[in-house]
């Protein structure tokens, strides 16, 4: 088993370079409309794939997780702040945990 420190160093190094290199070196806009479009959609696709189906296994119980997911979807749909959506999802999953 590799040392966790090495993993963390690699993780931090890559994450920093991804931010630092363009911010320090690039001063012009990317010309290719295709690449710009891919980069535009990428964050949404990444977060969506990270969330589903992972969210259903995030509480250790599929039913409480599904309720939390539903609450998060409804509150996010009505543009509630990130913190409210996150806490409400956890609280609702916790509350339903007493019933199932």
């Amino acid at each position: 088993m590799m040392s966790v420190i090495i993993y963390i160093a690699v993780m931090a190094g890559v994450t920093y370079l991804v931010r630092m290199l363009p911010f320090t070196l690039f001063r012009k806009q990317i010309k290719s409309q295709f690449i710009r479009s891919v980069l535009y959609y990428l964050p949404y696709a990444v977060l969506a794939a990270m969330t589903f189906p992972g969210i259903f296994y995030s509480t250790g119980n599929t039913v409480t997780a599904a309720v939390g997911t539903l609450v998060a979807l409804v509150l996010a749909y009505f543009d509630l702040p990130l913190i409210v959506v996150a806490i409400a999802a956890a609280l609702s999953a916790f509350g339903v945990g007493f019933l199932v």
Binding site: R19, F23, F34, Y41, Y44, M50, L91
Partner: protein, 230 residues
């Protein structure tokens, strides 16, 4: 100078409060995955990113390869490159190379969103303030979550694992309502990732996310190219 710093810190306050609760969830996730409190805090202190950290912890827990770690971090965090390019055109003359090296560390979705929404050019001092408060929230929240993860009842800490996912939903859903091509990007990514998850479970979950996201973004970009100014 000083007022710019305070203004940045003040603008960063709501972000910091949000991060405090979300990173609490990350701290719990990390400890549940077998990391120590120090390692969990170390990750938050050196990475300052939500999605990348969650994926990174999954790779550490699964004893994945460093190549996997590099590619996963690269693809998940590549959005920061786009934000960094966009932000580099918003900064004023106070940004020398050293300032750029420092400030680039703190480019996150929320910090970028606040910075880019400012009416005028932004100074390095302002950016440092804007990064400081969220960073304090992120690190303290991780520490609390990692420590309390061992103290709070298991049932409560387990349900808090959903918090980061809740935040992800809150980030992607509101823009998707306004722009329907984003719904396609989200739907494709979820469909591909779900398929990989159940049909090819041997693929590491962080890697599956990368494959799904890239495929989905490329297809969506082909059908709905983004025009200038969007």
């Amino acid at each position: 100078m000083r007022s710019d710093y305070l203004k940045g810190m003040y603008h960063g306050l709501p972000i910091g409060l949000g991060y405090l609760s979300v990173s609490f969830g990350f701290g719990i996730t990390a400890v549940n995955a077998g990391l120590s409190v120090l390692e969990a805090v170390g990750i938050s202190l050196t990475n300052l990113t939500s999605a990348g950290q969650v994926a990174g912890v999954a790779i550490i827990a699964a004893a994945g390869t460093l190549i996997e770690m590099i590619i996963t971090q690269l693809v998940i965090n590549i959005r920061y490159s786009l934000m960094a390019i966009s932000l580099s055109q918003k900064v004023d003359g106070s940004f020398n190379t050293l300032q750029r090296l420092l400030v680039s560390f703190g480019i996150t979705d929320e910090i970028y969103a606040v910075a880019i929404a400012q009416p005028n050019k932004i100074s390095a001092t302002y950016m440092k303030g804007l990064i400081l408060t969220p960073m304090i929230g992120w690190v303290c929240g991780t520490l609390l979550g990692a420590v309390a993860g061992n103290l709070l009842p298991q049932m409560l800490t387990a349900t808090m694992g959903i918090m980061l996912y809740g935040m992800f939903i809150a980030i992607i859903l509101p823009p998707a309502k306004k722009q329907h091509s984003i719904i396609l990007a989200i739907g494709l990514a979820v469909a591909i990732n779900t398929l990989l998850y159940y049909c090819l479970p041997m693929i590491n979950s962080g890697f599956a996310v990368v494959i799904s996201a890239l495929l989905s973004s490329v297809v969506t970009a082909l059908f709905f190219p983004v025009k200038e100014g969007e």
